[in-house]
């Protein structure tokens, strides 16, 4: 992966000027590369990871992992059905897997009821969906390499040789 992308992936707030200093490229060059990545869809979005556990809000909603067994279709395989499913805004993530089931969905809803009714009314009745198993998520410890804890303070002394 291009170094510029690596840098942005770990901190999206860095400006083109700052990145240019780190990779020793002209600012204009870095800017145009980033523009191109955005245009090509390599960079899709810049976002902030929020540890909602620390907000102590009741309205964080619920998340569920849903295993879905489907019957693949002629010519389009899993892709067509996957798209019909992932276009629902309730679906936060959608993966095709090897193993005992086919699709893994992460569903977000305001409460258990919302999630269950999505599964019961939208997902399960779909043609070619052969079965679903729903796991409600109880606690998040780590997501996308990010440990969901307050950052630890350094234990180094301020001066050493």
């Amino acid at each position: 992966m291009d170094e510029i992308l690596e840098i942005l992936e770990s901190d999206a707030r860095l400006s083109a000027e700052e990145i240019a200093k780190m990779v020793r490229k002209p600012v204009a060059k870095v800017k145009s590369l980033i523009k191109q990545y955005e245009k090509d869809g390599v960079i899709l979005k810049y976002k902030t990871i929020i540890n909602k556990e620390l907000l102590h809000e009741d309205k964080n909603g619920v998340r569920a992992l849903i295993e879905v067994k489907v019957t693949p279709q002629k010519d389009v395989g899993f892709d067509y059905l996957a798209e019909r499913i992932y276009r629902f805004p309730e679906v936060a993530s959608c993966y095709l897997l090897s193993g005992s089931y086919d699709l893994l969905l992460i569903i977000e809803g305001k409460d258990i009821h919302t999630v269950s009714s999505f599964v019961a009314e939208k997902l399960a009745p779909m043609e070619n969906v052969r079965g679903t198993v729903t796991h409600f998520l109880l606690k998040k410890y780590k997501e996308d390499h990010q440990i969901l804890k307050r950052k630890e303070r350094t234990k180094r002394p301020a001066i050493s040789f």
């Binding site: 840098i7 700052e18 200093k21 990779v23 301020a158 001066i159 050493s160 040789f161």
Partner: protein
């Protein structure tokens, strides 16, 4: 009370006052730290915890666990084509600092002249002095990128000269040497029959060319005491584990002092070090990449705010000149910490020719570096 004359003569660290000041302050941005800002990779920490759980709480062989010496031996062979016999030519020490002390005491007879680069790591000069030697500084400056020259080494040699100390990549300057440059040193070592104590703890943090261990140069393995450790490469400073490799005779004598003083390195640290060698290389590369970006950033920024700097080839230090600011090193550091709360180390901590420089460690987050540069530039404007 009569204190040993040699100990009495060792200059107490002239910057102790400065240290105490910094340690007593809050909300300081510190670029004064001589260790990585990464925490030891989890796999290595987990191995240490597991070892404790399994009851590894005993002494080990004086030379260190044979498993660790074997790992080091095969690592050096694979990495550099450098072959050391794990039974006879490798000694595990409490950090490479201990290894340096053992080398100094093993090699030095009263009056032996020892060549030490300057500015250099704080312990080289005093340890050879305490061992009874006459250390002699070889001065380097920003104008030649803080590098020794072969002529300089040759000219400093007389009939009493026995040891040449080299350290690359270097603390505090970040300077390092290419194979070609080292070959010139090897010629002098041969001509003058010098033993070379080569401290290569920062070897994994070499950015612009491949690191060449001095002992890999033709004819040099028999004349070199090779020192390395886990602190810098694997962010394991607090584990205190390092090693010395060298000719069997030297290692065996070093081991005598080691067994009477340290006995052995901590078994937990040794277990962790085995894990580091087996599975740590990915973490090393990640950390190196990060340091390299910060190096580019800080060198560019120091130039921009008007401090002359030599771009370091390795380690995680820059050693900019502060001559044009009107301050000496100590006053610069004192005023910077008092007025802008940024900690750096006065260059004079690393020998008298460190005057006119400060050491800044870029083993600190980019956010910290940005803020530090901002504060230093305000400090310079006054």
């Amino acid at each position: 009370m009569r204190i040993s004359k040699r100990v009495e003569k060792v200059a107490p660290s002239g910057i102790r006052v400065f240290f105490d000041l910094v340690l007593g302050m809050k909300d300081v941005i510190s670029l004064g730290v001589g260790e990585p800002d990464f925490i030891t990779p989890w796999g290595i920490r987990e191995k240490a915890i597991y070892s404790l759980e399994q009851g590894y709480t005993s002494y080990t062989s004086n030379k260190g666990m044979i498993e660790l010496r074997q790992e080091i031996s095969s690592f050096l062979k694979k990495r550099f084509g450098l072959e050391y016999d794990p039974e006879e030519e490798i000694l595990i020490t409490v950090g490479s600092s201990e290894a340096f002390d053992l080398a100094a005491r093993t090699l030095t007879n009263s009056g032996d002249k020892i060549l030490v680069p300057e500015p250099s790591y704080v312990s080289y000069f005093p340890l050879f002095y305490l061992a009874g030697g006459s250390p002699h500084y070889l001065k380097t400056t920003i104008d030649n990128g803080f590098k020794l020259t072969p002529q300089q080494i040759d000219q400093a040699c007389d009939k009493n000269t026995k040891v040449l100390v080299i350290n690359y990549p270097a603390n505090p300057t970040g300077a390092s040497y290419t194979r070609k440059e080292l070959l010139e040193f090897a010629k002098i070592a041969k001509k003058r029959d010098l033993i070379v104590v080569s401290d290569e703890v920062y070897d994994e943090l070499t950015y612009d060319f491949n690191h060449t261990p001095f002992a890999t140069l033709p004819g040099m393995k028999q004349k070199t005491v090779y020192l390395n450790g886990f602190s810098k490469s694997y962010a394991m400073t607090g584990f205190r584990v390092g090693y010395a490799c060298g000719p069997k005779n030297i290692i065996n004598h070093m081991n005598k002092i080691h067994q009477y003083t340290m006995l052995c390195a901590s078994i937990i640290a040794q277990m962790a070090a085995i894990e580091a060698l087996k599975n740590g290389s990915k973490s090393v590369l990640q950390m190196k990449k990060e340091y390299q970006r910060r190096r580019e950033y800080i060198v560019g920024e120091l130039n921009r705010i008007g401090l002359r700097v030599h771009k370091p080839e390795g380690a995680f230090y820059v050693f900019p000149s502060i001559r044009n600011t009107g301050y000496n090193s100590m006053d610069f550091a004192l005023n910077l910490i008092k007025k802008r709360k940024v900690a750096v180390v006065p260059g004079t901590a690393f020998g008298p020719s460190g005057e006119g420089y400060i050491r800044m460690a870029y083993a600190s987050s980019l956010d910290n570096l940005k803020e530090a540069i901002l504060r230093i530039s305000e400090f310079l404007k006054r």
